[in-house]
Symmetry: C2
Subunit: 399 residues, 2 copies
């Protein structure tokens, strides 16, 4: 049986947010969500839909699902919708009937230039809505201000699931430590991790082609890149792995760095230690300012200044993104005020937000020192969701 | 290593279609495709992207990928892009530079009211493009007429993969026949099928929550519904299963019907035989008119008239949809001319199209008789991609 406990939590939360924002109605309008996914749909529906489907929630807490004949049962089974309306040839008559009856002044729909998680309405579907509503007085507005808090304020059920995904990832990190050896290619290491995921019945947090992302030594390209057979773990160099799992629909996203210590060496080379401590300091600086009420960019700025002051170049991304159902869970970004991030760095951090904190520096000879931790924002600050990497993990190598 | 053989085939095909349609350039413009997927992206990129990414292909066959710093390597590795341009803070300057240099009159972008597979551009991303291109003379048009044939004309590589998915599904159908017994709930049967998928290392063609869709007896609701523990396979009744697998990124989609024969009974009850033969006749009628040059609705009409003439109600869906990377692969629909299908039933069938042919009737006492076959359109007609169900599969039951 499909579990919709999370959807019940999120729908109740949505009503409260509509009241807060004083918006009359929020509508998720979708079709063929297997390949035209709306990231907002899983918050209110436990399954995908094929035909045009409208899920309407009002400020008064009234809930209407309009769906094709073969899909209404999934909504009826949820037991939460005040009306579940079925149609065959066109959704338009039922949709207009419901809206004319509920008379919302504004209808918030899922589009946003800034927040990708609030931008699930396709342009074609927007044109369809415009056509359906031509001649009516309903005002279509962006649901960004509904979806941002709805997605960002994790419910107890959501936090429990994220914790479980992080705990499993921590465990897999220990298995990687036991496995790593000089001579392994990035691809072999990635395959080992995929096999562990398979054993646990989970899938990678993002594209299996580059989750895990494995970086061996100083020459491997950094980024969302597929592991290759070209680069190999070597004694005297670093291995950096960025990975996470989807467990029960919620994800983890963690980076760790290992040093393959050559035989006879008992210290970690100074450049590695300096880089590690600087990256760690930047993450701690971000954590220190991360609390309810601050704007996202302020958190990024704290980390960015710390790493630059330590003599390293700026990282070319955000220090943190939300995690939840997806690895980049939209809403507020802990990132710089760059054009491509739109309004997201100006979002206000709230209690219940779950973020990653991540950055790295590339050092000659050794490779990439990059860390990523998952945190929950509480009323007073930050709670680390898993084990935190406080020193380079040393893997002794045989001669 | 990521396999991009299909993408190379599709990109070459896209250039030919741009010439056919006399459109200067086609641009796929995406970000965060883990949760804001554009169904067109996998045709030209073997992996998801996070930052704003523009993939531009011109009628002259010139190909430019503009992507964020951490994602350019995936495009460089494809070896097919004439330029791979990296950016950090905003894609706008590079995008404008490229467009001003290439000077396309029209830029086809991925939106469509009718064809969901051509509607991957979100409304927020459309607004971003409008903002970027303000004051320029480029005309943004719908890429529907590019994506429809690009998606619909399967390449040899694509057809081989669909065949493999169908062959595996045929094999799993045999395993289901050996497994079925009275007393099993729909959920148990679905779990058995999921276990077989897992053994084969494949995942369901659509939402695991309702792929397979299992219908036991006459009272179980029909549609895209999750299997429940409420309904049970019974001697003297039918089991109908709709399922498919994703193998190597390509899918199958097949429905079969089984009769659980009570001990001592040697014939199949007449109402079942009549329903089966009528459904089969309707599918054959559709197959008989399915060839290059016909409009989609004509194929649906042949099946619809046949089943109505046999004394059954009309089915409330299309008789056939394309299959490929996804189970509803967009483009031409073999469906009735209903509002919700937009222009898709008016699409012209072409050689290389792969469709399902499916319909069913519900009969009292026994249950659902519903079949679905996967076919390839050839120059002269139809090639069945797998075994075809020509009679009810009988499962003898013990007393």
């Amino acid at each position: 049986m499909v579990d919709f406990s999370i959807q019940l939590e999120k729908i109740a939360q949505a009503v409260g947010i509509l009241q807060e924002q004083n918006v009359d109605a929020w509508m998720t309008f979708v079709r063929e969500t297997e390949h035209n996914a709306d990231p907002a749909l899983p918050l209110v529906s436990p399954s995908n839909v094929t035909w045009h489907t409208a899920l309407i929630i009002t400020k008064q807490g009234y809930k209407v699902a309009i769906a094709g004949r073969y899909e209404v049962v999934n909504f009826q089974r949820m037991g939460i919708w005040d009306e579940v309306i079925s149609y065959d040839q066109s959704i338009q008559p039922a949709l207009l009937e419901v809206l004319n009856r509920l008379k919302p002044r504004q209808i918030a729909v899922n589009y946003s230039e800034s927040d990708t998680a609030a931008d699930g309405l396709s342009h074609g579907m927007y044109l369809t809505l415009q056509r359906y509503l031509a001649g009516t007085s309903f005002e279509m507005i962006s649901a960004e201000d509904i979806l941002n808090p709805l997605r960002g304020r994790k419910t107890p059920g959501e936090i429990a699931r994220i914790r479980a995904a992080v705990a499993l990832t921590d465990d897999i990190i220990n298995r990687i430590t036991a496995y790593l050896k000089p001579g392994q290619t990035e691809l072999e290491i990635a395959n080992f991790i995929h096999a562990e995921y398979k054993k646990e019945g989970v899938i990678p947090s993002w594209d299996p082609g580059h989750c895990p992302s494995v970086t061996c030594g100083p020459d491997s390209p950094v980024g969302h890149v597929s592991p290759s057979s070209t680069f190999v773990a070597k004694a005297g160099q670093l291995v950096r792995i960025d990975q996470g799992v989807i467990l029960n629909d919620y994800i983890s996203d963690i980076q760790r760095v290992w040093y393959l210590q050559p035989p006879g060496e008992s210290d970690i080379p100074q450049p590695i230690l300096h880089a590690f401590d600087s990256v760690r300091a930047a993450i701690m600086a971000a954590a220190a300012v991360l609390k309810p009420g601050v704007e996202g960019w302020v958190v990024d700025d704290a980390a960015r200044k710390t790493i630059v002051a330590a003599g390293y170049p700026e990282y070319q991304h955000a220090v943190g993104h939300m995690i939840g159902r997806t690895v980049h869970d939209g809403a507020t970004l802990l990132g710089p005020r760059w054009e491509r991030y739109g309004r997201t760095p100006y979002g206000i951090v709230e209690a219940g937000n779950c973020f990653t904190l991540e950055l790295g520096v590339q050092i000659p000879v050794y490779g990439l020192v990059s860390l990523e931790e998952d945190v929950l924002v509480t009323e007073t600050g930050v709670e680390w969701l898993g084990h935190v990497q406080t020193e380079v993990i040393v893997v002794p190598t045989a001669s």
